[in-house]
């Protein structure tokens, strides 16, 4: 059985973690925590970490003992420098809380790249995890911001993403709010839906890695996939239904842009992939699966295939790393422009203020 650590850092990470906890209850009702028990596929420890206590209070499905408040007034104000200092000041406290939970095989660190706490804490936290747990595999699940959210968030995303890639993590799973906001009309509903999508995919991934598969994929395969290409990847998911129970359609749908957390053309841009298929035996047509995998192999370098026999219509999770990330490049260009504009804006404001002060430079107060 895998020992899994799931850390939700910052407001975005907290909410994704809360969505995972909710899904572990079955995801049916707001009151399910009162009458049901969480059913994680493996031994899973969840910790929500935040400097803003109000963000922690908003959580509904995460137990109080799994909410770790890092005392730093009320958040870091989207200032990554303040956030980093806050982490260093509370590093031991944070790590002690994690170490109390035991040893882990894999850790998922869920965070937004644009906020204050998550974007500043997560790279440092991953570094500390790698330092203290020698055999742990750490996979950040990084959420990219809406592009119109502001220049600070853009620059935070740019620098945070770079730091996440620089630490010794086993790849990075991307989710793009900008891409996913098409899921719903209003922002709040979109956030909930994105969090739920990430939660379902992550739990499915853990369950699959910890299952006795018909065709085996394991944590090693997962790490191999995540180390491919740019070590940045994303996940696609699809579930067949009674109208169309075909596993072939489910595989194809899981690779379509609409099913992905981050916009990509899998057949052209995937470096390595893992396709995990779960369902009743009668729906899992091996020939169809093999053909679809072969089709994917034509574009991606290598495709791991996992089959989990479980009652129900076929569910397909596709995990892959990318060989090219044009959207990231665009993001960095936008971030750079935003930084320049911010710099110019500050200089102009500073000059204007200096000019204003110049009017009284040789004067003194007279009373």
């Amino acid at each position: 059985m895998l020992n899994v650590l799931m850390l939700g850092v910052g407001q975005c990470g907290n909410r994704i973690l809360d969505a995972i906890n909710k899904e572990a209850f079955g995801g049916a009702s707001r009151l399910s925590k009162y009458y049901s028990r969480q059913k994680f596929p493996s031994r899973v420890e969840t910790i929500a970490i935040n400097t803003a206590i109000n963000d922690l209070k908003e959580l509904r499905f995460t137990t109080a003992k799994d909410r770790l408040h890092v005392p730093n007034l009320h958040g870091v104000g989207a200032n990554r420098n303040v956030g980093k200092q806050g982490f260093w000041d509370n590093r031991e406290m944070i790590m002690e809380e994690i170490e109390k939970r035991g040893d882990f095989d894999v850790a998922f660190v869920m965070t937004s790249t644009s906020g204050g706490t998550g974007s500043s804490f997560s790279p440092l936290l991953i570094h500390e995890l790698k330092e203290r747990y020698k055999n742990i595999s750490v996979i950040p699940i990084a959420v990219l911001p809406f592009r119109e959210e502001g220049s600070i968030y853009l620059q935070n995303a740019a620098f945070s993403l770079r730091e996440l890639m620089e630490v010794d993590a086993e790849g990075l799973i991307l989710a793009d709010n900008q891409y996913l906001k098409r899921c719903s009309g209003d922002i709040a509903t979109a956030y909930d839906k994105i969090n739920t999508m990430i939660a379902q995919r992550t739990l499915f991934l853990i369950e699959s890695l910890d299952s006795e598969m018909l065709s085996v994929t394991d944590l090693g395969d997962f790490k191999t996939v995540m180390s491919g290409g740019l070590r940045m990847g994303t996940m696609g998911f699809s579930q067949a239904d009674r109208k169309n129970p075909s596993v072939k359609s489910a595989i194809q749908n899981s690779l379509k842009p609409g099913s992905l957390l981050y916009p990509a053309n899998v057949y052209d841009e995937a470096a390595r992939a893992m396709v995990i298929i779960q369902g009743s035996r009668e729906y899992l047509d091996v020939d169809e699966i093999t053909k679809e995998i072969e089709k994917l192999c034509a574009g991606a370098g290598h495709v791991f295939k996992g089959l989990v026999i479980k009652k129900g219509y076929p569910k397909v999770l596709t995990l892959f790393t990318l060989a090219s990330v044009p959207e990231i490049e665009t993001l960095y260009a936008q971030a750079a422009r935003a930084i320049h504009e911010e710099k110019d804006r500050k200089q102009r404001a500073k000059k204007q203020l200096s000019d204003a002060f110049a009017h009284i430079e040789d004067l003194e107060e007279i009373y």
């Binding site: 925590k33 509904r60 995460t62």
Partner: protein, 386 residues
Amino acid sequence: MRLTYLMVLIVVILTSSQAKDSNNEVTFSDFTLYTGDSVEIASYTIQLVEVQSVRDGIVVIRATKSGGALDEQRALLQNNANSFDGGSENGGLTVTITDIFDDQSAKVRVEYPKDMGIPRKQTAESGSKGPGSQPVLAVEKSFDNDNPSVGSEVKVTVMVKNIGGGLAEDIVVDDQPPLANFVYIAGYPPKIKSQLDPGESDSAIYVIDAVKEGTVKVPPIEVRYSDSKKNTKSNESAPFNVVIAPKSMPDLDIKLNPSGSIPLGQAGRLNVSLYNSGKATAYKVEIKSEIEPSGGLDATDLDKSYFEIDPGAMESYSAELTGRSSGEYTVNLKVSYQDGNDVLLKEGSTTIVVLEREYKYLYYLLILPLLAVSAWLIKRYKEYKY
């Protein structure tokens, strides 16, 4: 020829029978008599001695026959035929009081054989030697209670009255010796004056106690006396029966009526009732209780006493019982009482069950799940409360 003889024989028999019937033919005559008046027919004399009770229809008649073959005085009930000297059917007389007008006169029917001749009435004044100038003593013996019980007291009254026209002397009352069913207490023998003038009466009372149940024939009391010529005469009262009932006793029925089983540590009630179904009062009624086994059932106010309980009366009370230890207990009540002399005992008992402590498992079955759910909800709330 034979037929002729047979018919002659039948005619002879019929003729003989008719002749016999005409010889024994009885007829009667009614007379209105006053006290002292008499009716004479053949050698018989029927005299109205006294109208003893107009209400009860009792008239005293004296029947005499010349020569002393008959001298009998009886108290006749109205409309009851009395035969003297074998009755009119047998050559004697049958006398019936058909009407009583007042305490001095009555209508008397005298039935007699027709061949005796015609009866004649003799008034007290007209008679040359009627009883009007002679002393006639009427004697009566009566009980104040004709249906006494064993042990009860009876007063016997003896009354002698001179209903004749002359002085009665040397009067002696001869009462029967004490009866086997009675014992004499006081006043015996009855003392009556030795002389009584005409119309004068005397009485005596003595007291006896009934001692044995049964029907007793009280024999007549005889009074003997003599007239001025020292002719000795006698008279006696009518005999009567007395039924002596068994001795009146109090009889207490005791009933114990518990309110039901008693839960452990709680109290219950025991209702006790005493009903005197006897015919005598129960005195000094004492009720003592005993509980077996002891120690597990406490009783309060179970012992009781009453000064008396009259026949047909009921006394009841309620005692409190407290169960100290579960089990089955027998409550015995011993009732002692007196009927005046003897001490009588009665017992009653009942069983009281003290229940085991009753646990309300059913309520727990309802409450426990609620508590469990509440505890679970509170636990979960605290787990998630931040």
